[in-house]
Symmetry: C2
């Protein structure tokens, strides 16, 4: 078996922020301030890619569309995103965070990618969970962003239940997936004896079968009767969590040192198995995946 | 959230046999006898669906094609399969097991499904691992078999690294997946602190996102310098292992009581999320999955 002797090309520290924003327009200012403090804290610890949860600046559980509109902002010109852009510039770091986006009358559950150079791009959640279907418009694209530290793909929460999403991002040459989450419920039990939720294992599996690190930031706390599951994790190209999976309750930041381009070599496991080549695109997915989109890894 | 009040329609005990066959034509007779004893033991415990590992009657690590031919048999007319058919009839049980199949000059890494009524069908491994590519011909179909206890899909070992396979089986209305395995290696570490291997988590994830039970029988022991990983498991429609994951070393049989048709109701999680309907077939897999093959669940 191969031992992975390719020298690291892009080693950096990454961070997953497990925070506890609170819904309600009266809390928005403190929510945004909290994100800025957490970005500063992670950057002080040396993180150059910092991932915050889904809807990190607003909280999640909007009662009505009317309430959701109060929280929404245009991307990238809204005040929250402008504050994040300034923070990324000031701390010389990349930031991924969830935000409630408004364009025209449409609301999107969006993840944004920001770097020291400013706003890079956004991903609008394509799989909507439960009442999100009553509030938001689903996205229609799976962009992968080329940056100085590597190629970054984004996904949001319920997306990880659809193995197609990580496949599509990997197929487009993503070096890492930043996963922003508000995990809330699965058919019981919510946790196993180790205290991990099923989404932890879905994340590990998506990472492993695509040989791509995933930085999954989930939130904790409660909102209007709904409880979030924590369990943030950062996986290596082998899919295993680096330094363990976060607790279900704690506000915390977890870190890992990653080579953001390691995935380009990691998919060749031995002289005969390349996880891209081994896909049977003669039998499935002829229009997607490694066969149908540019294979740049 | 839903509580799953649909009454069980097909409750039975299922078994995953974690055995230790040994390669070498001098061992074939004792390997087959061992499978018959294990089938009898599981049937005595009340199992009506018994899953054995990949290549359960021959061992795995053939040195050459010539040696592999010595172990191979036609399906269903070879002596091993005839013995399994007689065992399934005698014990009034369904059996899934891996066998080395020869048809013409081609060798296949095959899983067979047998019931009290005789031979039902076979699946030829579509994703070949490492030196299997030098010995075997890959399969080209993902059959799902209708039986008196429910619809049964089969997969073999390396297949589970390709989330497409479980998707395709679920899309065709499978109620349960029987997974026959000789798990050998992943990028290190092989096990986590809980003693589980990555294939355990891939199995749980495939089960969970397709809301379908998986009976995964792996083998233990060593052959010609290669070590097998054990860690057999049986998941419910929620993806969690029932009664825990087997040890990495022990010869054992694990059991679970399952409703083999529970998956037909389990994919509806709430008033707004149906895991089949939620697939974005406008964005991916338009030719496969729930959109492209008969949706009979």
């Amino acid at each position: 078996m191969r031992t992975g002797t390719t020298p690291a090309a892009s080693e950096i520290k990454v961070a997953a922020v497990q925070s506890d924003p609170q819904v309600g327009i009266e809390n928005k200012k403190s929510n945004v301030e909290s994100t800025l403090q957490l970005i500063a804290e992670a950057a002080r610890e040396g993180a150059r890619l910092i991932v915050l949860p889904e809807l990190a600046s607003t909280g999640y559980s909007f009662d009505t569309r009317e309430e959701a509109y109060l929280h929404a902002e245009p991307v990238p010109n809204g005040p929250t995103l402008q504050a994040w852009i300034e923070a990324a510039r000031q701390h010389d770091t990349y930031v991924v965070a969830g935000i409630l986006e408004q364009e025209g009358v449409a609301l999107y559950d969006t993840a944004v990618l920001i770097g020291p150079e400013g706003f890079i791009g956004k991903y609008r959640k394509t799989h909507l969970w439960n009442r999100e279907k009553l509030l938001f418009t689903p996205g229609t694209e799976y962009p992968v962003f080329d940056t100085k530290i590597g190629r970054i793909g984004l996904l949001i929460c319920w997306d990880i239940w659809f193995p197609e999403v990580a496949r599509i991002l990997a197929a487009q040459g993503a070096d890492i997936i930043c996963s922003t989450n508000n995990w809330v419920w699965t058919p019981p039990p919510l946790f196993d004896d180790a205290g991990n939720c099923m989404a932890s294992y879905l994340t590990m599996s998506a990472s492993h079968v695509n040989t791509i690190p995933i930085v999954a930031a989930d939130r904790v706390g409660e909102e209007r009767g709904g409880k979030f599951l924590g369990c943030s994790l950062i996986t290596g190209t082998n899919g295993w969590p680096i330094g363990g999976i976060a607790d279900a309750e704690d506000k915390t930041i977890i870190y890992a040192d990653l080579d953001l381009t390691a995935s380009r070599a990691a998919m060749i496991w031995n002289d005969l198995n390349d996880l891209a080549r081994d896909r049977r695109t003669d039998l499935y997915d002829p229009l997607l995946g490694f066969n149908g989109t540019p294979l740049v890894r």
